[in-house]
Symmetry: C2
Subunit: 716 residues, 2 copies
Amino acid sequence: MSLDKVMNAESVAIIGASKNETKRGFQAIRTLLDGNYEGIIYPVNPKEKSILGLKCYSRVSAIEDPVDLALITTPAPTIPAVLEDCGKKEVSGAVIIAGGFGEMGSEGKRLEEEIVRVARENHIRIIGPNTSGMMNLRDQMNLVGLREVPRGDIALLSQSGNMALTIMTEAKLKSLKGFSYYVGVGNEADIRFHEYLEFFREDKVTHAILMYVEGMREGRKFLQEAHKTSLKKPIILLKSGRSSTGKRSAGSHTGALAGMSVVAKTAFQRSGIIVVENSDELFPVAETLSSLPPIRNNKIAILADGGGHATIAADVLTDLGVQIPELSEKTRERLRELLPRSAAVINPIDVAGGTDSDPTVFADCADIILKDPEVGGLLIVGLFGGYGIRFAESLSLMEEDAAHRMGKMVRKRKKPIVFHSLYTSAKPHALHLLRYYGIPVYDSLDIACKCVSALAERGTYLHRYHFKTNFTFHWRAKAKHEGNQIIRSARKEGRSALLEHEAKKLLHLHGAPASKDRLARTPDEAVSIAKRMKRNVVLKIVSPDILHKSDAKGVRLNLGTEDEIRAAFDEIIENAKAFRPDADIRGILVAPMARKGLEVIVGTKYDDQFGPVIMYGLGGIMVEVIKDISTRVLPISPVFAKTMIGETKSAPILEGIRGEAPYDKRTLKSVLLMCSELIESYPDIQEMDLNPVIVHEQGVSIVDARIILKPEGKQH
Amino acid sequence: MSLDKVMNAESVAIIGASKNETKRGFQAIRTLLDGNYEGIIYPVNPKEKSILGLKCYSRVSAIEDPVDLALITTPAPTIPAVLEDCGKKEVSGAVIIAGGFGEMGSEGKRLEEEIVRVARENHIRIIGPNTSGMMNLRDQMNLVGLREVPRGDIALLSQSGNMALTIMTEAKLKSLKGFSYYVGVGNEADIRFHEYLEFFREDKVTHAILMYVEGMREGRKFLQEAHKTSLKKPIILLKSGRSSTGKRSAGSHTGALAGMSVVAKTAFQRSGIIVVENSDELFPVAETLSSLPPIRNNKIAILADGGGHATIAADVLTDLGVQIPELSEKTRERLRELLPRSAAVINPIDVAGGTDSDPTVFADCADIILKDPEVGGLLIVGLFGGYGIRFAESLSLMEEDAAHRMGKMVRKRKKPIVFHSLYTSAKPHALHLLRYYGIPVYDSLDIACKCVSALAERGTYLHRYHFKTNFTFHWRAKAKHEGNQIIRSARKEGRSALLEHEAKKLLHLHGAPASKDRLARTPDEAVSIAKRMKRNVVLKIVSPDILHKSDAKGVRLNLGTEDEIRAAFDEIIENAKAFRPDADIRGILVAPMARKGLEVIVGTKYDDQFGPVIMYGLGGIMVEVIKDISTRVLPISPVFAKTMIGETKSAPILEGIRGEAPYDKRTLKSVLLMCSELIESYPDIQEMDLNPVIVHEQGVSIVDARIILKPEGKQH
């Protein structure tokens, strides 16, 4: 159901309307009246005849005309009955302010489930509960009570009222930007983050979406919608609750599961979201991305009127991964003509006093620099805006001239300019003009650099997004009949794990290089299988009752002769019986000894927030001690399989060190992709563990495989 | 020579004094006059009789009374003659503004050397050249031309005029703090960073030292002086020029060698310096450290009036390594009595509306929290200062009351409080009061957290500094007679490297577990040495002309029988002759085969800025691929040797993984300490490479050792 009637309501009932000025039920009406809300307001309170000159109704169902939205300010226990009444009136949405739900333990959780049930029965969508409210600033539908919130093109989604207040205050004090909508998402009991994204994607006023998130209920759907949305508009997100103390704090706050793992961060970025780590940077990045064209080639020039700022900016941008290319000879020559002899015309460009008596030289330089095809954008750092204050008043008019010219330059060249100015807080008119043209100005070098890097990140994403998968599974699409049978027969026996040879067979069906093991029921069978393998073999116990074979001494390696095999067979059976006398022994698996190579680990599991994820790492101490692991939300594309292998610290080992030949990365990549395919094909699979996988110079051997099934009825 | 007469000059000659208002020689006099400089001003210009009402002199030597300091504003080529003239007048110091010296290539470098020579001959100390000037704000000796710089207790050293301007502007706009001195260090041609530190250490007005550094000429002396200074006053430092582009920018700017390595950062921290990475944090951290007592136990409480800010602060502080302990049951009980039922009285503490109608509850809470002995300091985040603005004007008086109480609380309990307030830019009086008591207030959560972590870092340092060595070598103090002879005899032969057995003998002399190798000149000798070793042996070629023995096929491993040894001996000699027919072959080294164990690498080298440094890492791919290395400036103490071993990512391997016994970390530690002792004992040693060193369960074997000597005459 579209959220249109909720977000753009043409009439609002204020349930819990009040004449008491300290009550939310008064303030909300006051704000709507003062703000010239374009719809109709219906106060609801059985004890009042009128409030603030408006007729007051005893209940929602007593209102004559249609009601789109209800703002409910009454306490938690009253809500189910209120919603029932709203249902009678066919109200589309309800904003529930009260806390005391999921964030307050099991009793609250029950009440939350109750209101969701009632709302669903009555076709009412809920914002909240436990929210500071919502605003549609285009229609001046302000259901929060905050005043003087600037209107503009940024949609704000926040799980903290204070953070929303922080961001709105910052927008008002430090920018010309404002907001199209604000939603206090609260406990996300009904409407989830991803549904708001869907709405904002289509909204014509909104040009960027700014999110403060502590915990999220449906991570995968969110990724899917973010992926679609970020192609149209930038999404900027700060996720807090990373640390355990932060989680403790967030948990008591929104009742949602908090946590920002590396998985989450890479998944957010893959769906095109610009992830911000510092709260100081959140609004500035949104301001920049909603105002300027992205940087197409990750390359930036820095223009400075002093060495210190240039040096710091170069450091920070380099840390952020943005390139600072040398300028073309032509560009340098033109800059040399314009600037004093002592100026640095490499990049960073230092004007060395060349702007002191004429700040329009900034615009001249910017024009030359932006024409350089190697330059994707420009960061200007230093004193601009302060020449009139510091040197002579007349210079401020020249600064204004320069601002006009640079503003038009950005539009013409479709390359962004970002400013750092020491004089931001003095509010010179030239900086106001820059902002009017959409050029942001910051008094923090770090923030200005972060904004530049966000423009570069967005440019790079838009250039490459088609290489990325979109987090959508086509469940069962590539399943094989025989594969389904393997799972079905395990289910029939009531097993929640495949036996090793079953797991390997499943892998085989999808083209994976698992060793071709065979089950032997007698020593004779084992010997004849081993003969056909034409190499030394491994014997392993096969029993649904023995998951960890080594613990039961159920594995014997490197057996060559017939005698060795026979002896090992008997020994393993004996050990297994000693380990667990009632074990259901299916036989003994005969596997060829793997060739030498590099041990790696590949696995999949279910993440609470995002569903199936895959991990990869070099075996041994690399995983055990260094935790050198790469992880992604599934499904993955070939590009991601490659990146996963390449981004581990130990990746150079695969290239072959000390003169060794390189290992077969190509086949290893195909193993990761096969895992992705397998998870998509068989929704029954909960967890998969290929360990070890041995990578050879040519080829790969999956030596051991463990596949765990979901509890019955939990598959997609 | 003390800098007192330079820094606290009672008379200043302005060389290049001018009547032209745009000239520095005019502005400097104007500023001194306007600022009520407490000393005497002597304009110097042969073409003028008087300037701004002051008698003008043709040259410094024509001034009748003593002159302490000269501000030289004339161009670079005039400076040597000007200094000569200053010398006649026994001027103590000169501030040289002009650029065009070391930062401008080899010609400039020669001119810089020239002025340093003239200055030394004439006993004049130089600030600069290529500096924006200096200020002594106590005496209003402002030689920069900037106006309205706030006076206070922070000394500012900067290698960028713009960064100094940035910091002063920030101080004026956002704090009640100011500066005791400012020095634009410029090219550091004569007076170096460490000499300013010495001066500020003793200066009574200065309570903190703030430094912006791009490159540094005498890193080790700086560390030594910083070590002494930081025990008395905090030093806060931002070092830029980390990235290669940043270095390029800084190099063209100050002419000094830039670069911020991990070595530099740990060395700075070890000398008690608070290293800041973001320029936004530089002044706030100095403000905080100059105003508040440090946090003694690295444990902080967070008090918030909203969940979002608390969650972010908890995340950021955790990332910064500050602990957020749970509060004692007593503290929690007292908070529960004070706050609403829904308040969180764990840590972070969320008042949950408990301050809405009475913000003095903040002071009540702070009082309870700071009494908890587990709590070393308090961070208050959110809306404080804005209650009067947001809710009712009368609340601002209560906020002021709370501010007074908390200000006194900090003094009484000697525990710091730091504030984040959303309403900082509205400048409410309550926040002004907090600052009056030395409690800083920031509108950035990230910066407030960084300041808290700086207080914790300083507290921890002051608590533990006596475990740290002080970067001072007692050269030759622990040298052995026999060791000196080994080096002398190598020198006599004109060699710049010790032979392997010489290096090992040197190690032995200092108690190191180097293998007890013996030199054999004939196969018979080799056999008899091997017999006495009672285990398999290794043979290695010994020749000053063959440094890399493997390249010459000069090594044979694991030889047991007499025949094997004889054959290997002949083979090695043959290979060596084939490799280099004219090689001076001294014989063959017979070494016992090392027992199995874990391979590590230990080495020392000379760092351009800091002199001798030591490195340690696990051998093989850990060093080769993962670059998992730990480095320190020498000398090191036992605590540092332990930390070096413990801080590598691979350290857990030493503990024994997969049920292995742990390795002998104790002896390994002693090897690192022995390296430190060796470098201190023999200033001839340039570089030392122990690779591999094998760590056993008990004991350590230094299997190979390479020691390179400095060029003659370069030792200390």
